[in-house]
């Protein structure tokens, strides 16, 4: 538990540089903001470049299935960068969660290969808000056909394949078999959709849904923390840079002590969040028994910290941070939605209390 490397390796630093360069070139904040007015034109090209061309779609897939065979540590670094850019791509939903649902299955390996190559994109049909330890939703299979509704599914709009829980198993359902209705979302950089199945045909790809899905969600929660760290880092760095430039009362605003102390506290929080997220990623990468604790600690701490960072960014930018033009709001909405995603901080604290023997009052 104590000797885990919480820093970044050289390989990880190189991966970060590559991803950051691509996002700097191709993930323009104005085009991201356009998502809120229904212009989703940025999504496909960006995901093709990241997922297929850069190979991130297969980052967590074993080499024998056409993937990069990398670990959760590398996926975490990618997520930090996606968070920093508020990037609207289905990496977490397809390349992390859906991929991990399929990873240990025999039946799903064909699909896994297609996901790894970026040929197809998948989404697990559960509400984004679902905590790893909560009750799993399922549709019914009265006559071998899947029927039912799952609401607020992330990545469904971008998905060719939906992974649907039914009858204790996971079924792969082509998106064309489902009615996918986009939802006006608080965070349009990860727009949700309601999924309706009405006698849809699916392929059974995982026999034991319970284990596979819970593990994938716990891993997703562990790695979401890195995305949240990226969001928080952007907020801190952008705010510090702005306050060094912005003059009020004849001085740089960042020189006023009350703001300095707040930024010092925020920086302390971002450093702490980084440590928590790194530990969760490293624990996941190592298959360590401490994963459930690490994952819930990371979500309990980093979810709230990222929201705090975004709120401080808006406030400390003054009026400009309240405008549609300034990208700060993209991060506020992403942070707030991420806080609810995969269980709120409160839900993870409640889970932790059980895991570490701090019993609630009976």
């Amino acid at each position: 538990m104590s000797d885990v490397n919480l820093l970044y390796t050289e390989v990880e630093d190189d991966l970060r540089a590559t991803v950051r360069k691509l996002l700097t070139d191709r993930c323009d904040p104005a085009r991201v903001t356009a998502l809120y007015d229904g212009d989703r034109s940025i999504v496909d090209g960006l995901w093709r470049a990241l997922g297929a061309e850069l190979g991130l779609a297969g980052l967590l897939v074993a080499e024998e299935h056409g993937g990069a065979g990398a670990s959760a540590r590398e996926a975490a670094v990618v997520l930090e960068e996606l968070g920093r850019a508020a990037a609207p791509v289905p990496f977490l939903t397809s390349a992390v969660i859906a991929t991990l649902v399929l990873r240990d299955s025999e039946d799903g390996t064909g699909l896994l290969g297609e996901l790894a190559s970026g040929e197809r994109t998948a989404a697990l049909a559960v509400p984004l808000s679902l905590a790893p330890h909560a009750a799993l939703p399922a549709v019914s299979v009265p006559d071998g056909r899947l029927t039912g509704t799952v609401t607020s599914v992330a990545g469904a709009i971008e998905a060719d394949v939906l992974l649907v829980l039914a009858d204790g198993a996971v079924y792969a359902v082509p998106a064309a078999e489902a009615v996918v209705t986009p939802v006006i979302s608080l965070d349009m950089t990860r727009q949700l959709a309601d999924v309706r199945l009405d006698g849809a045909v699916g392929t059974r790809v995982v026999a034991d849904a319970e284990t596979a899905v819970r593990d994938a969600l716990a891993a997703g929660a562990a790695l979401l923390a890195s995305e949240q760290v990226g969001v928080a880092q952007w907020c801190l760095e952008t705010t510090v840079a702005y306050l060094k430039e912005r003059k009020q009362f004849g001085r740089a605003v960042g020189g006023f002590q009350a703001l300095k102390h707040r930024l010092a506290d925020l920086a302390t929080g971002v450093e702490s969040a980084t440590a928590a997220a790194r530990y969760a990623a490293a624990t996941l990468a190592a298959g360590d028994d401490d994963l459930l604790v690490a994952s819930s600690v990371a979500q309990a701490y980093v979810s709230d910290l990222a929201v705090f960072a975004a709120e401080e960014a808006v406030q400390l930018h003054g009026g400009i941070g309240m405008t549609w033009e300034h990208p700060a709001h993209l991060y506020l909405k992403r942070a707030k939605a991420d806080q609810i995603a995969l269980g709120t901080a409160g839900a993870h604290r409640a889970r932790l209390a059980e895991l570490v023997d701090l019993p609630a009052p009976q």
Partner: protein, 395 residues
């Protein structure tokens, strides 16, 4: 002529007997009410009032409301009623009071406020909009850009501060004007906010012409006049009149409506915030009692800081409580709302809109400075810009 509360009631009754709200034309009714001194009874006679205590106004309003009297467009003219009017009353010439106060109160002329600038922000006195006079006693020609102007697209008039002498230190070279928004040099552009709406505007001023008769106060005295305006603004924000008023009422209702969403940690946070909202209500009540006794204080600043904090924490909590539903939003379409309701629309809107509460009308940071210096008497910041000509300041 001094009258007591009973006499005031009788006067309202007499007025209503003479002007039946059911049959009198709206504007005619409002003008008559103004002329009868029953508009704002604390204003002087001849300007819509009777020189009576402000505390007596609510009873008058209640009587008019009960009689079904027309309202004077309060919702759309908050800046006119709350900020422009008291400033004109205090600093205006007789002609200005005569010209502006009646149509302001009746709602015939809606006002907006041209104070904030992109380059100045919290440091309002650093403003750069220039006003140059055409000869002694001539018109003023105004050029510059203002921002965060709510209602500018509906306003007929504006209170405006502009720099009239860039060679003086920043607080000394400012003058206060009443600006005609129909001047062809005034361009109003919607300013979209993080909620998706454009509740505010940017206003571009290009060779806008203002007669010297529409200058309020002396040349160079604009900072003092503007401060009077701003202190009128703050008293009006913060502190609910009734228990569970405002954001706490909305979130408490969500809690009561959704037993299935309750968790111990959210419960603890909600009850803490309920307590804070209730205490802030009592604090507001106490501040109003002090004001009524004439006890001075900058507590309006504290009320506003607290109001903003509680609204932000509650609206953030509500989204976590809603969980999956908290991830959904009503509508991102850009609209220009006529009316803003902090607690309206959906939970996502409330969360985002509440972020503005600690910025608009004085940031919480600036208000904390004010409290520390004016209430506690702590030393002010070392000032590097106090005696420097405005034109030489770092910008």
């Amino acid at each position: 002529m001094s009258i007591d509360e009973h006499g005031l009631r009788r006067r309202v009754e007499e007025f209503l007997a003479a002007h039946d709200p059911a049959t009198t034309e709206r504007l005619e009714f409002l003008r008559a009410r103004y002329d009868a001194g029953l508009a704002w009874v604390n204003y002087p006679e001849g300007h819509g009032g009777l020189g009576l205590p402000r505390a007596w106004q609510p009873a008058v309003d209640a009587m008019f409301d009960a009689a079904g009297a027309p309202d004077n467009n309060r919702g759309a003219n908050g800046i006119g009623l709350g900020m422009a009017a008291p400033t004109i009353l205090r600093f205006g010439t007789d002609e200005q009071k005569q010209r502006f106060l009646r149509p302001l109160w009746t709602g015939e002329e809606v006002w907006c406020q041209l104070f904030s600038e992109p380059g100045a922000g919290s440091d309002l006195a650093a403003l750069g909009t220039r006003a140059v006079q055409e000869g002694d006693g001539g018109d003023w020609i105004v050029n510059g850009q203002k921002v965060w102007t709510s209602g500018a697209h509906n306003a007929r008039l504006a209170i405006l501060v502009a720099r009239t002498d860039p060679d003086l230190p920043k607080h000394q070279g400012i003058t206060y004007f009443l600006c005609d928004m129909t001047d062809p040099g005034v361009e109003v552009r919607p300013l979209r906010q993080i909620t998706g709406e454009a509740e505010f505007n940017e206003v571009f001023l290009t060779d806008v012409r203002i007669p010297d008769a529409q200058r309020l106060g002396e040349v160079g005295q604009g900072w003092a006049v503007a401060n009077a305006t701003l202190s009128n603004e703050r008293v009006s924000i913060g502190g609910n009149a009734v228990r569970e008023g405002g954001m706490i009422g909305v979130v408490a209702q969500t809690w009561r409506d959704h037993p299935e969403l309750r968790t111990p940690e959210l419960h603890d946070r909600l009850v803490r915030l309920w307590v804070e909202a209730e205490v802030s209500r009592l604090t507001g009540q106490r501040v109003r009692q002090k004001l009524a006794q004439g006890q001075p204080g900058a507590e309006g600043a504290a009320l506003k800081v607290t109001f903003a904090r509680i609204a932000q924490q509650l609206s953030g909590l509500e989204l976590e409580l809603l969980g999956e539903d908290g991830l959904r939003y009503s509508d991102w379409t850009m609209v220009r709302p006529d009316h803003v309701d902090f607690t309206g629309r959906d939970a996502g809107y409330r969360y985002l809109r509440a972020k503005g509460n600690s910025i608009e009308g004085g940031t919480s940071e600036i208000l904390r400075n004010i409290m520390a210096e004016r209430v506690l008497g702590l030393p002010s910041e070392p000032r590097v810009d106090k005696d420097v000509p405005w034109k030489d300041l770092a910008k």
